[in-house]
Structures are given as structure tokens and as C-alpha cells.
Amino acid sequence: MTAKLGAGWIATGGDVEGAITAMADMRERWQAAGRGAEPLDAVVMTGGAILEEGEPADSPRAVAQAGPRAAMLLHRAADAALAGLPMMAPMPPSMADIAARYVELARRFTPQGAHYLENHRGHLMFVKPEERPHVTAELIRRTTFTATERELTERVAALAEARYSEIALQIVPGQEHAIEDWGRIRRKFV
């Protein structure tokens, strides 16, 4: 529909490879709609945390800033298992076990028959205490922009190379100071 209307496009993603694949697919649709010569205003919406050298991806600060976005994969897995909803994106094989364990936790959410209430509590805002063990360093690394400043600068440059025009970074409630960190990276692209 984006290509048909000639609209701007907002993609969501947590890794550069997936964003590049999504862009290739959109470019194909853009061309097919006869818009090959027209510019595409493409936004990638993501989030994460800028790590200090040696800081683990599941440090308390990283979990607070990037954990809510990483938990999206778990919430979607529970929606798929408990409500029969599609995943929207393939489950990375390396994340399947941890997602399955979260689904087992979600089966016990109350009220029974309305798992979605507890499943989505805090969605994109905070990590629920009971889901914290499932929000691992690996999950955060694979599903968010969480890395050192140098690596994140390289990732943003790769997105620009793939012809994304904007990166939108989620700021988690209570972590508004993170905007200062992202502002440092922004200045490298002026």
C-alpha cells in the first residue's frame, strides 16, 4: 500500500540485516508500482542502548533502555501460541527456546482467557519482573540496537547506505536521559 500510494514508509526492526532485506523488498514494490524514479522516504523505527566499553548487553542500564523492545519478541510469541496470531516475522532459531519458556510463563497469566492483558503490560515501556529472566543479553543483542557507540555508528551508517532516510529511536519512560547518548551519535551524521 505504501508503494501504491507513494507514501513514506516506517519499518520496524532491531538488526541491520533485517532492515536491509526489508528495504530490498520495499524497493521492489516501489519499482513495481511505477515509482522507480521517485524518492522513498524510509524510516526505520528501533531502539536500544549505547554500551560503555565492556558493559554487558544485559546490564541494569541496558535492560532498562533496550529490554522493553527486546521483550516484543516474547510478547509476539505468546500471542502466537495462546491466541493463534501470526508472528509477523520469523522467530530466530537461536531465540526459539527462550521464547518457548516465556510462552509457558504466559500460559499462567491471569485472568485466564485474557492472557493478553498481562502479556502486554509494560509493552515497550518496562520489563516485567517475571519476564526479566527471559530478557537475556543475547535477546537484547539480536533484537535491538544495543552495542558500543562505535558499533552503533557503523550500524546507522549501514542503514544510510541502504537508503534509509531516518532512524527513529525509542526512548523508554524513565530513561529520557538516553536522548543525550543518541544525540552524540546523531552529531556524527550532520
Binding site: 513514506g8 516506517i10 524510516v43 523505527m45 531502539g47 516484543m72 510478547h75 500471542d79 491466541a83 496470531l85 501470526p86 509477523m88 485474557a114 493478553y116 492483558l117 502486554h120 509493552h123 515497550l124 515501556m125 546507522v156 551508517a157 542503514l159 544510510a160 534509509y164 532516510s165 531516518e166 532512524i167 527513529a168 529511536l169 525509542q170 526512548i171 523508554v172 519512560p173 529520557e176 536522548i179 543525550e180 543518541w182 544525540g183 551519535i185 546523531r186 552529531r187 551524521f189 550532520v190
Partner: protein, 117 residues
């Protein structure tokens, strides 16, 4: 490459939006998720009067939870507060509707959609 921020909407989101503007960010996207966060039009209106340059957009509006004419009126009102700085981002309502135990329209198989209609 433009930099923007995406916000789980709060009535006081204008505070971080104003700081983002000072840091040179180009746009702020406000989530629309009725069970999870504040109303984006209210928060965007506050941000509109507290900022001067940064663009403000719904990121993204849930069409199935809104009456089109009412939403258009809200965007027009925002545009009067921040002329040319308002963006209409729209999606399927993926998270917002799931948090209410509802499906997004695009997920409905055609046959099921027909029955629902």
C-alpha cells in the same frame, strides 16, 4: 541521515521532545496504544506549543480504533498549532489492538472478515 525519537506517549512527552529538538533531532513519533499509553493527539498538542522546529507524527495511528473524520479533525487542529510540522503515521494497530485482545484487520482471513462484517 535524520535522527528521530519514538515515544511511548505520555501527556508530558513534550519535555523529551523539546530536548530532542535542542539536540538537533528531526522528528518525534508518538505511539498510539489506548491500553498502554496516553493519547497521542493530546501529547502532540502540548509538544506543538512547546517546540518550534521538530516534526511531530503519530507512530503509528490505529485506524480501526478511530473514526476517520475525527482523526482528520485532530490532525488539522494540530497543524494549526504547528503548521507544516505534523505527520500522519498510520499502521495496522498491531500492538495496540493485541493489548486489547483484538486482531488487527489485516490479520483476518477473508472468510472470517466476511463473517465479521
Amino acid at each position: 541521515m535524520r535522527f528521530a525519537l519514538a515515544i511511548p506517549t505520555d501527556a508530558e512527552s513534550w519535555r523529551v521532545v523539546r530536548r530532542a529538538e535542542e539536540l538537533g533531532f528531526s522528528r518525534a513519533w508518538f505511539y498510539d496504544a489506548q491500553m498502554l499509553s496516553a493519547d497521542p493527539f493530546v501529547a502532540m498538542a502540548a509538544a506543538a506549543v512547546k517546540t518550534t522546529r521538530i516534526r511531530l507524527g503519530t507512530g503509528v495511528l490505529i485506524p480501526s480504533n478511530r473514526i476517520a473524520a475525527v482523526a482528520a479533525n485532530a490532525f488539522a487542529s494540530l497543524n494549526k498549532l504547528a503548521p507544516g510540522r505534523i505527520d500522519f503515521g498510520v499502521g495496522t494497530g498491531f500492538t495496540g489492538r493485541r493489548a486489547m485482545g483484538l486482531r488487527s484487520d489485516f490479520m483476518w482471513p477473508p472468510r472470517a472478515r466476511g463473517r465479521a462484517a
